[in-house]
């Protein structure tokens, strides 16, 4: 299609030049927002209407609705018998641009499975949550579908290990795991 050009020009007339007209118009907009929101807040507080007067979310109590495609934290999926799906093929480690995944492969104790990861680390602070690992996985073993926005609670030293990444399936809070792990390493 042809290139259409439009010249923009805004000239101020006397109404604009005396400040007060446009200032009051602007004030009217913000005032209207205040009044409407206040009304909604009151209705919400009185439990008359469910919607509230603000577009923000009060984070810890109230979570933003997240689309199901959300790329959150990693987890390792398990088979029906509870064993991990991962076979340490290193696809995720290979494609990871941040080198945040480290896998130590080994011979599986299960005779039906040849190879499995003896250790599976995800350095969550290196991770950029690009989702390439889930895309690369040939076995649907790693996913980024844990909807849990916070990753660092009170520390910046977070490396998830295999048990934790699998343990997410039974909803164990990560702090618990972290405290266990931390005391572990202290003793050693």
């Amino acid at each position: 299609m042809e290139k259409r050009v439009r010249e923009l020009k805004v000239d101020y007339g006397p109404a604009e030049n005396i400040y007060w007209v446009e200032v009051l118009k602007g004030l009217w907009i913000t005032n209207r927002h205040f009044m409407v929101n206040m009304w909604r807040h009151i209705l919400h507080a009185l439990r008359i209407k469910a919607e509230k007067g603000a577009v923000t979310f009060q984070y810890p109590e109230e979570h933003r609705p997240i689309h199901h495609r959300w790329r959150g934290r990693h987890r390792l999926t398990v088979k029906q018998n509870g064993a991990m799906r991962c076979t340490a093929c290193m696809m995720c480690e290979t494609i990871c641009p941040d080198e945040c995944i480290h896998i130590v492969p080994g011979e599986s104790p299960d005779p039906n499975v040849e190879k499995f990861p003896e250790e599976f680390y995800v350095d969550a602070l290196r991770c950029c949550f690009c989702g390439l690992c889930a895309e690369a996985c040939p076995l649907d073993a790693i996913r980024l579908d844990v909807i849990e926005p916070e990753i660092c609670g009170f520390t910046r030293d977070i490396i998830f290990n295999k048990e934790f990444l699998m343990g997410l399936n039974n909803d164990r809070p990560w702090e618990e795991w972290y405290i266990e792990n931390k005391t572990d390493s202290k003793e050693k």
């Binding site: 076979t87 340490a88 093929c89 290193m90 696809m91 290979t94 480290h102 130590v104 492969p105 080994g106 011979e107 040849e114 190879k115 003896e118 250790e119 680390y121 350095d123 040939p138 076995l139 490396i159 572990d184 390493s185 050693k188």
Partner: protein, 555 residues
């Protein structure tokens, strides 16, 4: 010499060459599984199909044929790019893949697997297989170092041909018919010969895998450096496959956390693979060379200069050890240069030997220099590759002249000389003194200096001062093999800790003794070496090609 046309272009090839090789020579790669240039041609995989047009009974007739079995003939026309050829290759590949298990995630061969490469390059078909795949034996232990997986096998028979034609040991064979056909051990046999590891290299897919490398690292992580095996005088051409990544992870990121501390994780060399050199080792290496890399990162590796302080070895800075070396040697030489013995191992490269020779013979004029370490009685050579001499550079030592002076003492005289008190100072380079000295003469020595790669626990009591030497894979240089062939080895990675190549320590030592050796890198030493030693005349790193050069009176 027959002239043939390949994809329209005319070329000339020697008589008897097959079409596959001919295509390879002009840069057209024909996919193949079973064909191997060093083995008998069987034509079992049917992958290398090309269109062959030949004058038969007066008219050009074209057919699709396997290129490995067709010899070039005058007037032949080959096409590798017709749709029919493509289709045939694709269909062959589809057949081969129809029963192939979904094993790429666990297969060690993924990344250098010909099935993968050919699928990507020649196949690219969609799967049509809906029947269940045939199950077969998996992860079957067939020998000291080999694991067999029959499901992945494409029955190319390279392995059994190798065992028949090269080693003549006949451990593997093909049994069964139809879909039950599979590679198996012959009854009562186990794949335990000295060259068993080669079947892994030969296997184009992941059916035969190496226990030593099993699940260790993925192939595509490895970086390769060409090198020369140091385990016998043959000087087989090898490739060092190494990866520093897990090493760094464990050293840096995970040292604070619980992690496996097994030595395998900290190994930098992951595996050794042969390089093709028809003049030396064709494409085979023995298992001694293949699995002999582990001392580079073994637990007893000496990574820091150590000095004996009141009966205890303490890691110190290199300067302190050099100083100890210098004062010890100087005082011994001042009293009598004949009281000092220097023994080097013929594992040193030509450059290192020359550096040591320049210091001890040319500058210090010591009479008692020798390299003739006794050969381990357990070592036996064979007529395929393994030489009777387990040292890679004995000829180089002789040529450079690291031998006793006219009336100097050799290694075999040392025991007697020490007990007589004729010798009280010993410097050995890369050699364990207990190989040639008795325990009592070792303890009788006044000064004992060592330059070592590995310091075993039970040698520590005898050490006065020791410098760490770079291990195999950490330095570059040249070896002279038993037939006078000079070959280059390259450094794969930096030396561990404070270790340095021997020539570097020689230069430091010379500086400490005020005898200047002015070299900066191995090229400089090679330069002086070619100037001063007759056999190495006009030699430089560039003139040593990938196959090496034979020099001296052997040429």
């Amino acid at each position: 010499m027959p002239k043939i046309k390949i994809n329209g272009n005319e070329h000339e090839f020697p008589e008897g060459m097959n079409v596959l090789e001919a295509c390879k020579n002009v840069g057209i790669y024909v996919p193949h599984f079973c064909y191997h240039p060093l083995l008998r041609t069987v034509g079992s995989c049917r992958m290398c199909k090309v269109e062959v047009s030949q004058n038969m009974r007066g008219s050009m007739q074209s057919r699709i044929d396997i290129s490995c079995k067709v010899e070039v003939a005058d007037g032949m026309e080959i096409r590798t790019d017709t749709p029919e050829v493509k289709k045939q290759q694709q269909m062959t590949l589809e057949f081969l893949l129809s029963n192939h298990p979904l094993d790429c995630p666990v297969c060690d061969d993924a990344g250098e697997c010909e099935l993968q490469n050919f699928y990507f390059e020649f196949g690219q078909h969609d799967s049509r297989m809906i029947e269940p795949k045939i199950k077969n034996r998996k992860a079957f232990d067939i020998g000291r170092s080999i694991v067999l997986d029959n499901e992945r096998c494409v029955l190319c028979s390279r392995c059994s041909r190798f065992l028949e034609e090269v080693t003549h040991t006949h451990e593997l064979g093909i049994f069964g018919m139809g879909s039950a056909e599979s590679i198996m051990l012959k009854p009562g046999a186990r794949l335990d010969n000295d060259y068993a590891g080669n079947v892994v290299d030969l296997c184009p897919v992941g059916a035969l895998t190496d226990k030593d490398y099993r699940f260790k690292r993925r192939v595509w992580y490895l970086k390769s450096t060409p090198s020369i095996c140091e385990h016998c005088a043959r000087g087989c051409n090898v490739r060092v496959d190494w990866d520093l990544n897990p090493y760094h992870w464990h050293k840096k990121t995970f040292q604070m956390r619980k992690h496996r501390t097994e030595a395998t994780d900290l190994q930098r060399i992951q595996r050794i693979k042969p390089r093709r050199n028809d003049a030396v080792n064709k494409e085979w290496i023995c298992d001694t060379g293949r699995y002999g890399y582990k001392s580079t990162d073994s637990a007893d590796r000496l990574t820091q200069p150590v000095i004996n302080e009141s009966g205890e070895l303490k890691p110190v800075e290199a300067g302190a050890v050099i100083k100890a070396f210098v004062t010890g040697l100087n005082s011994a030489i001042k009293s009598n240069p004949g009281k000092v013995a220097v023994v080097v191992s013929p594992k040193l490269t030509n450059e290192e030997i020359y550096a040591a020779w320049s210091l001890f013979r040319k500058r210090l004029e010591l009479p008692n220099l020798d390299h003739k370490l006794p050969v381990d009685p357990e070592w036996t050579g064979d007529d395929l590759l393994k030489s009777a001499d387990p040292f890679p550079n004995r000829l180089g030592c002789e040529w450079i002249g690291f031998v006793p002076d006219g009336n100097g003492l050799g290694v075999e005289d040392l025991n007697l000389a020490i007990s007589n008190g004729k010798i009280d100072t010993l410097l050995t380079i890369l050699a364990d003194p207990r190989e040639f000295l008795e325990e009592k003469s070792l303890s009788k020595l006044k000064r004992k200096f060592f330059i070592l790669r590995n310091l075993p626990e039970d040698l520590k009591e005898h050490v006065d001062a020791a410098l760490p030497a770079a291990a195999w894979g950490e330095y570059r240089g040249t070896f002279t093999n038993f037939e006078g062939r000079i070959q280059r080895l390259e450094a794969a990675f930096d030396p561990e800790g404070e270790a340095q190549p021997v020539w570097h320590w020689m230069i430091e030592l010379a500086t400490g003794m005020k005898k200047s050796l002015k070299w900066r890198k191995t090229e400089d030493i090679m330069h002086s070496l070619s100037d001063h030693v007759i056999n190495y005349k006009n030699l430089s790193y560039d003139s040593i090609g990938p196959e090496g050069v034979v020099v001296g009176d052997k040429a």
